[in-house]
Every structure is written in C-alpha cells, then in structure tokens.
Amino acid sequence: MATVDGTTAASSGGKTAAVASESGGGRYAHPPAGSCSGANVALRALLFAVSVSALVVLATAKQTVMVPVVLRPPLVFAPVAAKFSHSPALVYLLAALCATSLYSLITAVSSLKLLSGSSSSAKTLFVLILLDVFYAGVMASATGTAGAVAWLGLKGNSHTRWNKICNTYGKFCRHIGSSTVLGLIASIILVLLVFLNAYALYRRTR
C-alpha cells in the first residue's frame, strides 16, 4: 500500500509542477518545453518511489524455515535462514538501488530548478542525459543479475544440480521477485527519461 500511495503522490506532484511550468513558460523567450520538463520531474519522482520501495522490499527479504539436516541417520530439523546478503547478485542490486534512489532524489531537485527557468538549462539537460544513460546501464545490469539468481531459485538447474529453493523459501522468493520487477520498472523509467531528455535536446537543433 505504501508503494501505491507514494507513486500516486509523486505523479500528482509532477502534474502540478507541469501546470506551473506551462503557466510560467510564456514569460521567457525560449519556453523550455513545459510539459516535457513536468513529465521529467514526475518520472524522477516515480523513479525515486519505485527504487525506494524496491530497496525496502529487498532489505526485508529474510526468512527462516526448519529444513531437514542429515547429521547422522536420524533426521534433524534445524532452522536455516535465507537472507539477501547470501548472494552477491542481490547485494549488487541493493547497492544499485541505493545509488539510483539517491540519484533520482538529487536530479528531481535539479529538474525542479530547471523548471523555474534558469539560463543554463541546456548544459544541465546535457549532464542529466549522460548520467541517466549511465544509471540506466547500472540498473539494467543489476536487474539482469538479480533476475538470473531469482530464476535459478525459482527453476533450479538440473544440469549443474542446483536445486530450486523457492518451494522452501516462498516468502523470501516473493520478496526477491518483487524487488527484481521493481528494479526492471526503474530501469525502464530511466530509459524513458533518456528518450524524453534527448528529444527535448533534439528539438532545439531545429
């Protein structure tokens, strides 16, 4: 529920920003694509919401179940915990999500500054696109890595005898899967941001 609330609040905030820029855009000689910048801020706020919720879902992925452990012929049940820090891929996803949420927060503020119509908007836009491309690559690789480990956990691999673990750790797997899907959405948002900003920059070449 918290995710949905944060997302709607973010997008509504972006809409008001878009309206503000459209009303204030007429005062400048070069109106810097008012609706485009509003969508920019909205997407960045959405990116922040998505990455923070993915971060929370990933960090709370911990489950302890009683699994049979064969020490001697009598079967012993012992509690075994599954945590995200047991896999380097998930640690990488956590780091990438941390960096992306921080980045989205900072760039949302700078996009808001861009909305207020400063003169150096072209250079800011340029730097933002470069960073967006970089973070899109980081998020794509983190999503691919976490998706591979989630797929292994879900299906296993019979050729290398890696058994699936999701029949044992169901809740843990749902957390990992949700976090991976949210990471995928975050990378798609970053790609959309690059499209949007590159188009805004491209329109100025005319």
């Binding site: 891929a89 340029f126 470069l130 491209y202």
Partner: protein
C-alpha cells in the same frame, strides 16, 4: 570548425557545416532543414559501431560454440564408482541462452545501423532509441551470465549450490571470456550513445 585539421574533410565536413549553418542561421527554418538533410558521418562513431558489431559477434560465437565433455566418477547402485561421461553446453543455462540471443540481436541491430549511417533526420532518433535498448539489453545479459558464471566458479553454500567450474574448467574460462568481450561491447555502446548525445548537444541552438 577546421575539418582539414582532423583529416578526412569529406567525412567531418558534413556535420561541421550543418552545425555552423544552424548556429548562425538561428531560426531560419529553410537553412536548418537543408542542413539536416545532409549526412553527418563521424568516423569515430563508425569505428565504435564496427567494434560493437565485431565484439557482439565474437561473444555470441564463442558462447554458442562453447561445449565440453568430460568424465566424472559417480557412485552407482552397489556402492562402486563408475566413470560417467558428462557434457556442459551453453543451452543448459538460461542465462547463457539469454546472453547469446541478446548479443545476436545487438549484432543485427548494429549491422542495420551501420547500413543507414549516411541517412539523417528521423533516422538519428531511431538509432539513438536502438542504441539505448541495445545498451540495456547488453548490460542485463552480461549481468545475468556473469552471475551464473560466478555461482559456477564459487558455488553458494547457503543454498547448497556446488561449484561446477572445477569439473568444467575450460568451459567456464570460455564462457567468462565471452562475458568479458560482451561487457567491453556494452561499454563501447555506452560511449557511442554518449557521443550521439554530445552531437545533439553541440548542434542545439543554445550551445
């Protein structure tokens, strides 16, 4: 603005001419439209694209040709050990399949983009979109395959996934080589995309 100083004036001259025209012409739409129809070919971008083309091809071929047969001593019924032939192939891992498919797709896209490098206009936007998608595809494929290789190399004791690279050593080495080549291709694609953005930024009237 001096094309002759960078060699190949015919290749460089197109873009410099266009940018100067649009820079000086300001809002003269006729001049800007005619300059956009010219073909700005940057030899650096072409070289990078050829490099991406070759690297993705090499990576896909190395990964797809990667197979190894070896014999294992496995206990059979009766308690005795018997030598069993086992094979490792790239199709046994879904992450490796994903990487081969992604590399092949980027290879085909790069060939298509290289074929229409002389065009200008709406194509440059399509090429940027394709570059971005190829970048995301390559990075996610490299991440997935590298993760699979890492588990194969080290195993994961928490979920009892044993390492397999001590059995399939050459297989793992070739797979990791393919992943490394694909990673270099992904970074080259990143540089290519940043150069394209830089070109648009320089051609924008606010620069």
């Amino acid at each position: 603005m001096e094309p002759s100083s960078r060699g190949k004036p015919g290749l460089n001259g197109g873009f410099d001419y266009g940018s100067r025209r649009s820079y000086y012409a300001g809002s003269a739409h006729g001049a800007a439209a005619s300059s956009r129809s010219s073909a700005p070919v940057d030899p650096c971008c072409v070289a990078l694209r050829v490099f991406v083309l070759l690297a993705t091809l090499v990576s896909a071929v190395v990964m797809a040709a990667d197979r190894q047969s070896t014999t294992l001593q496995l206990p059979v019924a009766g308690g005795e050990l018997r030598r069993v032939p086992v094979t490792a192939k790239w199709t046994y891992s879904s992450a490796f399949v994903y990487m081969v498919v992604a590399n092949a797709m980027v290879f085909l896209y790069s060939a298509g983009a290289l074929a229409m490098v002389r065009r200008r206009g709406a194509v440059v936007a399509a090429v940027m979109v394709g570059d971005l998608v190829a970048l995301a595809l390559l990075f996610s494929a490299v991440g997935a395959a590298a993760q699979f290789g890492l588990i194969g190399e080290r195993g994961n004791s928490h979920v009892r996934w044993a390492k397999v690279c001590d059995v399939y050593g050459p297989f793992c080495e070739r797979a990791m080589a393919a992943v490394a080549v694909s990673l270099i291709a992904a970074f080259a694609d990143l540089v290519l995309l940043m150069l394209a953005i830089l070109t648009i930024h320089k051609a924008s009237s606010y620069y």
